[in-house]
Symmetry: D2
Subunit: 328 residues, 4 copies
């Protein structure tokens, strides 16, 4: 399927067609809660550990703080972390302890998808249906995701990671423009250029370069701009088949929403999500920082590594913060 | 140093003495923010990856939800996670999207140390001083830990883990009684029984069995009891020298506070913390779940593994949630 | 209707019967969002202002803090208020301001019904129906109460208040026992004893004395006990007709749930609520502190006053904190 | 003192001079926590109640929701209110209740000064000092304001209110421009035009018209602009003496910060606050909505009323949300 093959005026039709072609519904049984994480097994993880050559650990997390990109859109603010008590309090007074002990403690309020995070399988629905053919309202109520809550998959997010630095492969400055739709060909070219392959159960990390651009904006005082929720480079709707055919376990990017924005339809919002989460059971990672990893991979020309990306297991969460690391 | 060697009426004296014997202040330079994590290097992590034999991943996290053990003491509640929108909303109405797309999204409020977590080096002070000889009030203000915030160490918490199932080694039912002080001898006996050693840069996971007991209380309706903040089995004050001599990178337990409660002094609160955080720069993990790991280790008699335990890098946090996993 | 007149084994039947007898559904039109607040008009408020004799203001609010009665049951914790910055920070450093300016600022996380509060009309449903015959799911989604959100009524909660100190009228020590069901006769006797009447559009404040008892528990270290969510004195199910006949605008008590607990049925939960909110459109105030007011009223034998009790107008809230005051 | 009388390059000097001229420190004793609220007594409140002619209640509160003006600056987000359970959940399932009962419940996270609010006396410091000559760090720690927390004054905020519609008095369209500094003369002219006076213990509500302008921006899609934290019309630094001489109890405006922004000095931030809170003990109300009140006052040419503005008594808060109402 090429980007030209759908009707820009008919996102619903394109969604239905892609869902039909690429559906994993029922593939792992009616009770499945893991989706594409089923592609990974212990043996895959054992081999992933063997990719560790130097022991270098690279953080793939953005900072979690109030200086982040969120602007309140759709209820998403940046994390607000405050102290229950601090070092100043300890120096000032006893804090109610004995023998010179002092302490500091903090609390946080945050949308679970405010910063580096995994989407859970209960995050997106298609016409009333959640992953694996379940009714959306049977799965996610006010209590959270009663079936596919992130805790059901959280310890599976370990395996072989492959960086696809599409930004560097395609753009002179390493940064794709907002609105650039990464095609299946782009992915293949990047793999070829990097001399690495992607296969069953892999975690595919796609660097677009948008984060680097946004961070320069923050540094020079012009701010995050539309980094959270606005135009972005990202995966084309046409990559759904590619991801399905390669049997990847998950995809993560350095953007807020993985897929290209504006979307490749006249009036649309996240059609790629609408296919890959409810129909493929694909895990998506968003707001990752892949810039340091990209530099390290380029330096020694190795783009595969062990990935450990186990999100906080909030019971029933439809998305959850994670501090992913590449171990090389 | 034996448990008998201090004056129960003089915790301040014992603290000062232990701090004097075991201090790492200045050891890694005046600017150090990593403390005992300096004991780990890439080579140690490379060897840790080689411990992976089967690829099995074992979660060491407790659930993060409102059914947890916290009771509001010192401002610590359980996490409160709520939905911004849910599957019921999608089934009920458009949610403002196009082409049949639906979504669910959630937010959370939580004390950072409400569930499975690492203490950061800014969490505890001794007579006005934080880790490495800094003034507590210079380090942790209302803005958080300006020097040793958890983000400075978050990607270092990967390495060789060793489980010490002291509960199983010493108690018939695998559960130490509340108030039981684990001695250096207990640690040595456990290591001998398990035929494993602990050395420089290792993560030492000490299972007391208290969590299993508390969870039975929850299951039978009697509740968490004093699991969060009350009496507990834990490390004796006498283990400080042992941990220092073995040059461990971190210690984590299945209890709320690592050390035994009540403490081994007439009037005291967390004297072990007061030594090991500000003076040794030791990282402590609390509220971990080591029960599954204990079963798996016993099953194949292997008590060492690769540990990946990178906490969420909240900028300036003095403690942070983590989903640690043992990879075997 | 007397307490004896219903079948203890059939709460649903008693609820249906009371709803049938006392329904206000449709009384103020299909679009009504005010329920019994329709009983108050400007003239009633003008007369209420004339009740002010001395200008004394009596607070009817409990403290809003982490020492409150909530225990996490059904997600209700006490408010957690923390500082963004404090006086210690100002003394310690510049805080980024000019010319010696310093500041302090705080944030709060709280369930809206954690402390002194009004129930909104979207708080309780009966068999799928909200106030005035609307479907519950049409009224309250994850976005909140789209029809009868507290903001629609918030500025109406001003009028004539009457204290009924039932605790003092019936109990030697001024405190009704937990489980005591206040009957219509009890209300009438209290009015007679206090030589005051209740009529159309009045705010009826019923003091049971439970708060005084609970606060003694806090003071003596035994804690709040079951003050939040447990057994309590309160209005009998039989008072529904009395409240309806008297056309009161609202009822508030010094307990967590207005009605007696355990309820007057074999297996039941808040049947009074199930009638008065969806069928009468009655506003209920909970967790008020009526003890000071009771002393002041007794001192000069005046039990009527101007009440100002305008809750914070959180858009779409189904309940909201309020600082009610009696002006005498 | 006229606007011309200070050195624009020396805010610290002007602040010190104004503080010296207008200080109330010590005026009401060393233990005072009420500041200018001491100007009100019961008799003043009794007379305020007599101002009620029709019983009309006018809300002076802005909505409390996520569509508000806050943008995260200095940690201030808009309130985030979410449901613990909703009407959709009730329609969908039992919610764990009996006999057809259903319920909805909500929680909120908010900075206490995110919307309509009173500044407490612990909110602002001058060179290390809080109200009444106390050290800032003795008053406000991480636990909050230990001395002048809003709960100490919350039930005093009832009395005679006077609207000064300066926007209407001075501007053709009723809206002062951002940056317009309201002078003492402007206040006097407005009073004269409105034929009303201000005296001891009054609440002075100053309408600038900025809120009306900002709300038009929201309505036409251009957003709040800089309404929260940016340029604004407001009281000149020169009005400090006027407010002091008139012995007002409090001042509230329809802007985020009462005083004009940018301030009337070359480099400055809220110098008026720095004088009136720590030195006068003056209560300031911010983000009030005075537009409806202005219309009603103009309609019957009465600019005085009973004001009831009792904030939520969060223990130790340095500011607190309030739903103020004018009763006319």
């Amino acid at each position: 399927m090429s980007p030209e093959s759908w009707d820009r005026a008919d996102p619903a039709g394109a969604i239905a067609s892609a869902a039909d072609r690429c559906s994993n519904v029922g593939r792992w049984g009616a009770d499945d809660v893991l989706g594409t994480l089923n592609y990974i097994d212990d043996e895959a993880r054992r081999r992933a550990a063997q990719l560790v050559r130097t022991g270098q650990v690279v953080s793939l997390s953005q900072p979690f703080d109030s200086a982040g990109p969120q602007n309140g859109w759709r209820g998403r603010t940046n994390p607000v972390r405050t102290m229950l008590t601090s070092g100043l309090d300890h120096e000032h007074a006893e804090q109610g302890f004995f023998h010179g002990l002092g302490g500091a403690d903090d609390v946080v309020f945050m949308p679970l998808q405010a910063a580096t995070q995994w989407d859970g399988l209960g995050h997106i629905f298609d016409h009333g249906m959640a992953w694996n053919g379940r009714r959306a309202g049977e799965v996610v109520t006010s209590e959270g995701d009663l079936v596919t809550g992130i805790e059901t998959a959280a310890d599976r997010l370990v395996g072989r990671g492959v960086l696809l630095d599409v930004g560097r492969a395609l753009a002179g400055d390493g940064e794709l423009e907002d609105g650039y739709a990464i095609s299946p060909d782009d992915l293949d070219q990047t793999l070829a250029r990097q001399d690495v392959s992607v296969g069953t159960g892999d975690f595919v990390l796609v660097r677009t370069g948008q984060l680097a651009r946004a961070q320069r904006g923050v540094a020079d005082g012009s701010g995050w701009g539309t980094y959270a929720g606005g135009p972005a480079p990202g995966l084309s709707f046409a990559t759904i088949d590619w991801l399905h055919d390669h049997q990847v376990a998950a995809v993560a990017t350095d953007t807020w929403g993985v897929e290209v924005r504006p979307n490749e339809f006249d009036e649309a919002f996240q059609p790629f999500h609408q296919v890959v989460i409810p129909h493929l059971g694909l895990f998506l990672g968003e707001l990752w920082d892949l810039d340091t990893l990209a530099r390290e991979c380029a330096a020694d020309d190795r783009y595969e590594f062990m990935l450990c990306a186990t999100p906080i297991p909030f019971t029933g969460a439809v998305g959850s913060p994670v501090h992913p690391v590449a171990i090389r």
